[in-house]
Structures are given as C-alpha cells and as structure tokens.
C-alpha cells in the first residue's frame, strides 16, 4: 500500500529564510548523528574535565594534614592549628585514647603523625617513615607550647601581638593572571573549534560539489542561501559545543574550587564565546570560498592550508600575549581581523584592553566579515558548478553564472 500522491495544495513557495533554515537543519541533523563528530566532542569534553582534575591534583598539596594526639588538651590542638596556618596547611586534630590506637592509625595512614604526651618532658611523634612537613609542624607547635608554659611560669603576662596590615599595590595582579590563564584555555578551545567547524564547512562544500548534488540544489535555491544555511547550521552546532564546554569548564572550576573569582571567570568565558562567533563567521566564509574551488576531498588540503595559517599565527601570538598582554605585538595584532578573536580575547581577559580598543577591534572584524562574505559568496557562486580541476580564483570571480 502506498500513500496517495500529494496534492498541489501542499506546496507553497519557500521564502529565502525558510530555504536557509532547511539547509541549516539538514547540516545539523546530519552532523549530530555522525559518529566521528560525537566521538570528537566527547574527547574534547573529557580533555577539559581532565585538565580540571589535573589542576585539583596540583592544588591538593595545600590540603589538610591530620595529626593524631594522645593526652593533649585544647591548647595543644590550638597550637597545632596555628602552626599549620603558618605553614599553609589546614590541621585536623584527632584525639586517641592510648598509644596503641594512635600507632594503628599512623600505620593505617589515617593520620600523618601521632603526637604522644605533648605537654610532657619528652613528647614523641609517631610517623610511618620520614617526618617531613608533619615533623616541622609538630615541632613548631610543641616549642610554642613550651615557650608559653615557661613564660607563664615566670609570671609574664602575654599581650595579643599586633596584626600586620597588608597593603596590596596591584590588587588585581593575581586575578589578572588567573583570568589570562582562563582566557588562554578558552582561546585554545576557540582555536580548535574554529578549525574543526571551518573544516566541516569546507568538507560539506566539497561533498556537494563532488557528488554533483549541488546542481540539483541550485535548481531550487540561490548559492547564497545554500552557503549561509550551511555556515549558520554548522555555526549553531559549534556554538552549542562551545557553550557545553564553557558550562562544564565553569561548573567544574567552581565545584573543584580552582579559581578565586567566579564572576571574573564567567566574564572571561563569555568574552571568548563572543569572539568565537565572530571568528567562526570570518573563517567559515573563507574556508567555504576556498573549498568551492576544488571538486575532490583530496584537493581540499591545497586550498585550505593558506587559510589555516592565519589562525595558527593568531594562536601563537595569543599564547605570547597571555604572558605579556601589554607587548606591542599583542597590542597591534589584536586589531587585525582573523587574529583579533584570539589575541584580543586574551588581552581583554587580562584586563589590558580599553573598552574603545575592544569596540574598534569588533568593528574592524565586522566590516571584514561583511567584505569576505560578499567576495567569498561570489567565488562560491562562480565556482560551484565548475567541476573537474581546480578553479582559478580569477575565473570564479569573473563568472556570472
């Protein structure tokens, strides 16, 4: 049983917007079911999570130190904690009833060391092997306690020592560095996604050309509708992936307490995402125009290589700018279209770019996107129906149809 033939009333002319939506929808639905894409995305997310775990592992050196105490009082615990603060570690005091219990705890690794008779003549510290940090800690605490005791025995009344007031000269320096590091991670992700999705656009263009389906498509729509549908569809997918990574990254960083200023972190991430949108529009158009010149996937490399050099340069400068965001190189290149998404994102996050600089960079970028979409669209339209060898750039531009 076959369905009845459709009636003519089912057909209404597509508006250009609907055409673009249809093309974009096909790009998304095909790509999202592609195994390679799904695996690639999973790997990227695992990488980001791995980076976070690595950070946490490095920072865990400042974690708590557990010290067992046998026969101590509140003063002993207090002294250990104060000493811990000075050494940059949080001390947790565990009281044990007798030496045997403490010994077992040390052997089991429950505590890093156990202090026996702290107030006695000969205090003893049980450790599994070499003393290390816990030895310094306990030594300091016991000394302090002994000193206090002797002083109070001698009748000296201790006054609270004066607290030192800290006056930071560049209060944001640490935060700036942190933000620059976040921006750098963001820019590396931005760079990878730019190239990845630019590559997707290029492959899609060549696929349509090599399978000749483009002739059937162009019988129903204009080249610009096909091009913008493809770029917008893949762009939305790229943006979604960027946002997923950003959310996982920010949530992870907050959950693991890797960063100090969550507000600033979110601001930096948003900056990077915004630059991704501009960078993608720029490179996707260039890649699409370049790809339209060839008819086989094998030839894609030869036309894309020149176009991929620019983002590589941008990444290198951005890496350098993260260390020295005020350098002349970083300052100048942060205005160059194509480089600005990476360099300006880093400068901006480091707090070294004035608002007007950002505005100018964005404006230059927008103007060049407009120019590239226009010229690229013409190359694309001119080269699309020419199959066979590589189409010369000049011929594609000159072709009317």
């Amino acid at each position: 049983m076959s369905a009845p033939a459709p009636a003519h009333s089912d057909v209404t002319p597509n508006s250009p917007a609907r055409m673009v939506r249809l093309v974009a929808g096909r790009e998304i639905s095909t790509r999202i079911r592609d195994k390679g894409f799904l695996i690639g995305s999973a790997v990227l997310i695992v990488l980001i999570l791995g980076m976070l775990v690595f950070q946490v592992a490095i920072n865990s050196g400042t974690d708590t130190t557990r010290v067992g105490v046998v026969g101590g009082d509140a003063a002993v615990g207090e002294a250990l904690r104060t000493q811990g603060q000075a050494l940059g570690t949080e001390v947790e005091v565990v009281d044990y009833g007798d030496e045997a219990a403490a010994r077992t705890a040390v052997e089991d690794g429950d505590v890093e060391g156990a202090l026996l008779s702290p107030s006695g003549v000969q205090p003893e510290l049980l450790v599994e092997s070499g003393g290390g940090q816990v030895e310094t800690l306990v030594q300091g605490a016991v000394q302090g306690l002994a000193l206090d005791r002797q002083l109070s025995d001698a009748g000296v009344q201790l006054e609270a020592p004066p607290e030192v007031e800290v006056v930071p000269l560049d209060p944001d320096a640490d935060a700036d560095l942190e933000a620059a590091i976040v921006a750098l991670v963001g820019v590396v992700v931005l760079y990878s996604l730019l190239l990845l999705f630019g590559q997707f656009v290029a492959q899609g263009v060549v696929e349509e050309k090599s399978s000749r389906v483009v002739e059937l498509l162009l019988a129903t729509m204009k080249p610009w509708q096909l091009l913008s549908g493809k770029i917008i569809g893949l762009g939305l997918l790229g943006l979604a992936q960027m946002l997923v990574i950003a959310v996982i990254g920010v949530a992870g960083a907050l959950a693991f307490d890797v960063v100090e200023l969550p507000g600033r972190l979110i601001g930096t991430v948003l900056t990077v995402v915004a630059w991704f949108v501009l960078g993608y529009a720029f490179y996707a158009s260039i890649f699409a125009a370049a790809a339209s010149l060839v008819s086989r996937q094998e030839d894609l490399g030869s036309v894309l290589t020149p176009a991929t050099l620019l983002p590589v340069v941008g990444l290198v400068i951005a890496l350098q700018a993260a260390q020295d965001p005020t350098s002349t190189l970083a300052r100048v290149t942060s205005f160059v279209p194509g480089l600005s998404p990476m360099v300006m994102a880093v400068r901006q996050s480091a707090g070294e770019a004035a608002l007007w600089e950002v505005a100018v960079a964005v404006l230059i970028m927008l103007v060049s996107i407009a120019v590239i979409v226009r010229i690229g669209g013409r190359i694309y339209a001119g080269a699309l129906l020419r199959t066979g060898g590589k189409v010369k750039l000049r011929d594609a531009l000159r072709a009317e149809s």
Binding site: A5, D10, R26, A219
Partner: protein
C-alpha cells in the same frame, strides 16, 4: 506550454547555442536529441537557471521562468547528484521540502515515490549503498517527489537495464497523463521514437528538425520506396525519371524518389518485369532521420 525561445549561449569563443527554439505542450512528451556536445545539456541548464543565456528566454504558461516557477520543475541533471551518505527516505523528504512542501506532506510524498519506484525496502539505506540502477531511481524520485508541473530530464535512461527503462518510461507516461509536459534528452532514439509525441533534433547549436516523428518523416528529403520484384533484371529502375537507386540486391530494390516523381510509374515499370512481391514506402527510422538531419542542411517540419 513550455516555450524555449531563441536561446543563444557562448562560452568564450565557443558558440554553443545559436538560437534554440521549441515548445512543449502540457501532457506532451518531447524527445530532445542531438549528437554529443550539440548543446542539449546547456539548453536544459539554462532552463533550470544554472546557466545564463546570452539571449533568448524560457517561458512557462506565457511568463518567463523565474525562481518561483523553477521550484515547480522536476529536474534530473546529466551528472547525477545525491548526498551519498544520506538515507533514501530522508533525502527525498529533503528535496520535497526544498521544493516548498511542509514536513509532513513531504515525508508522505517521499514514501509514496519510493514505494512507487520500487525503493520501498531501501528507504532507510544510505544512497551510497545502493546499486547504480537504484541510485538512478532515487534520482528520478527526487525529480518527481514534489509533483512538479514540468519535468526536464537530462539523459534519464542512460545506464538503465531494459526493466528499468520500462518502469521509468511508465512513470514518465503517467506524468504526461497528468498533463505535465516532459522534456528528456536521449541518445536511445528507438526509445524516443516509441515514447515521444514530439522530437527536436539539435545540431551545431540550433534545432535542425522538430515536430512529431510522422511530420519529420513526411518532410524527409528523398522519400524511399522499396520494391521487391524477384524476376526483375538488374538496373530495371535506373532509367526512370526522378528516381535514384539506393540499393539493389537480387530483385530487392530501394529507390529514392525526387519530389514530384511519380510512384505509379515506378509500379508500372516493376510490373513490366514480372511478379511484384512488395511495393511500399519505406518509413525511415528516427535514427535515419537523425543522421540526415545532423549532416544535412536544416529542415524544419511544419
């Protein structure tokens, strides 16, 4: 009425079309013939807006064909083209939607045409997994899925086995019965002769002959007469006025009569030699008409 009117196109110094004109009525099947490189594909691509004519235009129901009209044309390009990694059903649905159908009717139409062209079982297979013949069916289904008002098919029969040819021919005739004008190009002239109401022969950038096959026959230069007179001596007909002997073999003679020559005089001469077993005008095949048309000077039937 689909009208192709005076199309001119040059690629650089290569003048491909020098004023190609023909028209196809609703429900008519038009066979577009011509030697390789004669300009058939260029003509069709101009009609589909894939190439721009230097002069001339294509009209449908009296109006120049624009993008809106083109979405109502089913097209099959010479270079077959489908997304290799897309499933048959999804692909057909997509093309139906590009032609302006909504999602649900498009899916229904895709199912209908896949079923009808014998692809029902392969709907969920990727196109690249299909045999060439089946890919060709998908290609045709892509042209038909939006129930177009006009069909323009470039070499739709090439590469099909006889069964495939029959089912494609059946599908095209069904479209004609719906009132759709169908234009297709082909080198298989026997097929064109069998299917088409009208034929256009393109040579050196213009239509050198067009009309129904019968019209082409009646207008053909030098009509041929076959006479079988077993007892006739050699050269029995060579002296007759306006008659040229094309071939002669043991009493089986093919004669070409100049316009105005009297066939009854030939019959009388034949009877004079004895028994006449066969006397009839020979219907030239389209192949012969084609050969004459592309080699001789232009002849356009009324």
């Amino acid at each position: 009425m689909l009208e192709i009117d005076g199309l001119v196109k040059a690629y650089g110094s290569n003048q491909v079309l020098k004023g190609v004109s023909f028209s196809v009525a609703p429900g008519q099947m038009f066979g577009f013939c011509g030697s390789n490189g004669a300009g058939k594909t260029t003509t069709m691509r101009i009609a589909m807006g894939l190439a721009r004519a230097d002069a001339g235009e294509v009209r449908w129901t009296g109006r120049p064909v624009d993008d809106a009209v083109r979405r109502r044309i089913g097209y099959m390009p010479e270079e077959r083209g489908l997304y290799p990694k897309m499933k048959v059903g999804e692909q057909l649905t997509y093309f139906a939607r590009l032609h302006g159908m909504d999602a649900a009717p498009a899916a229904r139409a895709a199912e209908h045409w896949a079923e009808r062209l014998g692809l029902g079982e392969r709907r969920n297979d990727k196109v690249e997994k299909l045999s060439l013949g089946n890919q060709q069916r998908v290609q045709l289904a892509a042209a038909l899925v939006s129930e177009p008002d006009v069909l323009i098919l470039d070499e739709p029969f090439s590469g099909l086995d006889p069964v495939g040819v029959d089912s494609l021919a059946e599908a095209l005739l069904a479209q004609c019965r719906r009132g759709v004008p169908v234009v297709f190009s082909s080198h298989q002239l026997d097929l064109v002769e069998r299917l088409c109401d009208a034929v256009g022969i393109l040579a050196r950038g213009s239509i050198v002959a067009s009309g129904s096959v019968d019209e082409l026959r009646s207008g053909a230069v030098g009509r041929q007469l076959r006479v079988v007179a077993p007892d006739a001596p050699d050269h029995w007909a060579s002296a007759l006025p306006g008659v040229r002997v094309v071939s002669e073999q043991r009493g089986d003679t093919v004669l070409e009569l100049a316009p105005g020559a009297d066939d009854q005089q030939v019959l009388a001469a034949a009877l004079a030699t004895g028994r006449v077993a066969h006397f009839a005008w020979r219907e030239p095949t389209l192949v012969e008409l084609f050969r004459d048309a592309v080699t001789a000077t232009p002849v356009v039937a009324a």
